[in-house]
Amino acid sequence: MSDPQKGPAAPPVVDPERVDPHEAAAAPRRRFDASAFVPTVVDSVLAVVLALVVGAVLIVFSTERVLGSLPYFFSYPWDFFRFAGEAVGDGYAALVNGSLGGADALTRTLNRAAPLICAGLGVSLAFRAGLFNIGAQGQMLVAGLAAGYVGFTWDLPTGLHALVALLAALVAGALWGGVIGLLKARTGAHEVITTIMLNNVARFVVLYFLGLEAFQRPNSDNKLSPPVDDSATFPAIGNLHLGIVLAVLAALVVWWLLERSTLGFEMRAVGANPDAARTAGMSVPRVYVTAMTLAGVLAGLAVTMTVLGQQNSVTDQVAGTVGFDAITVALLGRATPVGTVLAGLLFGALSAGGLSMQGAAGIAPELSQVLQALIVLFVAAPALVRGIFRIKGRGQGSSVEAKGWGG
């Protein structure tokens, strides 16, 4: 993972000239400094290897054939090792094949990565402004409803229809996210509470609308919308739709916003130390509202990948677990745009590969979730990984990165 933050023109997180020295001194305690945050490539690779090793142990002890060879392990251990090796080999071969082997697999990986990247960017952006956004799920649900409604009821020419549906999703996501920022800015309500609660509210709002005649599939009583019209779908090559391109574009925009714009500078300043930012004349409430609105926009973009990209019908499950996985993606990506894209691709691959692991090797799909968690865990704890592999670190031992509740 290369470091996007060390560009020569990267502004300092807090402008020393405009900030009271006491505030500046307090800043490092809370800062979310990306440059100290990026692990070396070695650490990341070793973390993945370590996660795969733990995963292998789980595979070994969940394969019946292997367990069956345990009773006679001491008389004929070769069976155990052979079966174990085969089980692990088959499982991971299926994982790689299902995610990277061939055009179909790659398409699946990219299609799964695209929403993760977008939603992850939303979480990252809010993170940089010092907000812990657990609300991607709710923002996605509401946005999916909006995109779906425009997609399957309005009648517009191809292309324009998709664009309008996309805009509807972005606006709905922005509103749902913006409310969080507004509540935080106006009343101080903690965003962790409000996002969790609004996630659930969003689910019931979606269920309510899907219960209305206008949102339901004709001749169906299920809470399931029709798929969007063909004129509202994203252009696609084979099965690979526009989503991944949009995701990369979004990452570029977020990068520009955070690293090159005044607004982004203010966001990072507020994220680093709201008191210092306020002293420097920035409007902290405005930053909170903007950051959460933009996070909502990105979450809205994420859900268009499934609703408009794959023409999935809108249900209360339309966001899947993307909203929560996005948090992990953002954290693995160290809340930087480039990191989020890479982490999103990795998670997309693991999720696509997890499916074929189940199909080809009969391994439960939850294993890929366990692998994802382990990878993030080990990436976040370089000291542990180095200790296990007996690598002499660069003397830093452990990286002290902390962030409290903020606010």
Partner: protein
């Protein structure tokens, strides 16, 4: 709402210049009481027939037949009380302290009854649903939430952010089911009545195991604790789902089929009318929950250990300077929190329904986390926040019996109510100063 919105602050007795916070409090009270009055009036205007029935128990049974309630009278009482509140607030004569609390409780309670009378009125022909006692339902939803919230409070008071409550719930639920099932089917030396409590032991151990992961990475390897919590939830969700999938269907009966805990009636207390049976004919886990609230509050605020825990959560360096072993204390707090959350998770299996199911805690760990923040990191307030949530959730269940409000909107009620309470009454909260900061001894 009345319990939560009572502000327990003391303003300086200045006559001339009024604090802005004081003015804001008055405005808020006027608005709240006026809203309550307006809604009660609306209930009156939209009701045709006020005949409503109610039950003092949770369910209809042979010896608890519905009795009739005079909805009109209830509505008048609520209206008068709410208007009295408006007048008092407008004159800035709302008493502080106990008397004020009494006013809030009265208005809140009468509003609740008036609301229920409205919701259950005009049911038309056929089966008449009755208003039932909300306490049993509230307790059953709130029990795991309270335990989870206490776990969060203990950890975070010591300066370790615990987002992993959901993970501890899942691990606790799974392990409790496993332990209780194994005890039931294969450990002949355990008496039958001890099998389910044995499950509680399993739940507590699993919660502590998850806490140990939290502690290891947060304290030993100084991983960002927000990242860590999210990851542990994902890990526990995946692992419990994976392990559940590994239980072959023929041995489900042996490994995932616990007997739920039996309710035990507390001798005298369970005979109290209305609340007795609801509160004191519960499983041992519920009694443990009651005890846990008291114990955690006492531990944190009355013992030396608690003082030290709070010290390392606020200012670890200072605590270290006077010779307190910061990380050892944090380890103790994290493990104790894991024990509580693991018990909370056990509620989902041995405490209520029985067998473990994938992701069965369904996000309640995050609700518990919200309760921690809503309760301002105080065990009693956090527990009350959890109970409030349980109450609203139970209210939603009750309202789904009648069709005054569309069912899906009722589902959103507890969550919306929490947002309103947090935005309107709790406001800005201040976490323990060193929450989430690893301590490295210089």
């Amino acid at each position: 709402m009345s319990v939560v919105d009572a502000p327990a602050r003391s303003e300086a007795p200045e006559e001339q210049v009024r604090d802005r916070a004081d003015v804001r409090r008055q405005v808020r009270l006027v608005v709240v009481f006026a809203l309550a009055a307006a809604m009660v009036l609306l209930f009156r205007l939209t009701t045709d027939s006020f005949s409503v029935t109610y039950l003092l128990e949770a369910q209809r049974s042979a010896d608890s037949q519905p009795r009739s309630l005079d909805g009109s009278l209830v509505n008048w009482v609520a209206l008068v009380l709410a208007l009295a509140g408006v007048v008092l607030a407008a004159l800035n004569r709302v008493p502080r302290g106990g008397l004020g609390l009494l006013l809030y409780v009265l208005v809140g309670l009468s509003f609740y009854v008036a609301f229920m009378a409205w919701a259950f009125a005009d049911q038309g022909e056929g089966f008449q649903a009755s208003i039932s006692n909300p306490i049993p339902g509230t307790i059953s939803i709130a029990t795991p939430l309270v335990l989870g919230a206490l776990a969060g409070v203990v950890c975070e008071r010591a300066g370790v952010i615990n987002i992993a409550i959901e993970g501890q719930f899942l691990a606790g639920a799974f392990s409790a089911s496993l332990f209780a099932s194994i005890a039931l089917s294969s450990l002949a030396f355990i008496p039958l009545w001890l099998c389910a409590p044995f499950g509680l032991l399993g739940g507590a151990l699993a919660g502590m195991l998850v806490s140990a992961i939290l502690g290891l990475f947060a304290l030993r390897y100084q991983v960002n604790q927000v990242v860590l919590g999210v990851v542990i939830v994902a890990f526990a969700t995946g692992l419990t789902g994976f392990l559940l999938g590994q239980i072959p269907s023929e041995s489900t009966g042996r490994l995932n089929n616990p007997d739920p805990l039996e309710p035990l009636a507390v001798p005298v207390l369970s005979d109290i009318p209305v609340i007795g049976q609801a509160l004191f004919e519960q499983t041992i886990l519920v009694y443990l929950t009651y005890a846990a609230v008291v114990v955690v509050a006492l531990l944190l605020f009355q013992t030396r250990w608690g003082l030290r825990v709070r010290a390392v959560g606020e200012h670890p360096k200072a605590a270290d300077t006077v010779g307190i072993k910061v990380n050892r204390l944090r380890w103790q707090a994290v493990l104790f929190g894991g024990l509580l959350a693991g018990l909370g998770g056990a509620y989902y299996t041995v405490g209520s329904s029985g067998a473990f199911d994938k992701e069965m805690s369904a996000g309640t760990g995050f609700i518990a986390l919200a309760a921690v923040i809503m309760g301002r990191w105080h065990p009693v307030w956090a527990a009350l926040a959890a109970v409030f949530f349980g109450f609203m959730r139970n209210l939603g269940t009750q309202l789904s019996l009648v069709d005054r409000i569309p069912g899906d909107l009722i589902g959103a009620l507890p969550y919306l109510a929490t947002v309103i309470v947090v935005a309107g009454f709790v406001g800005r909260v201040r976490p323990p100063a060193a929450d989430g900061e690893p301590f490295v001894k210089a």
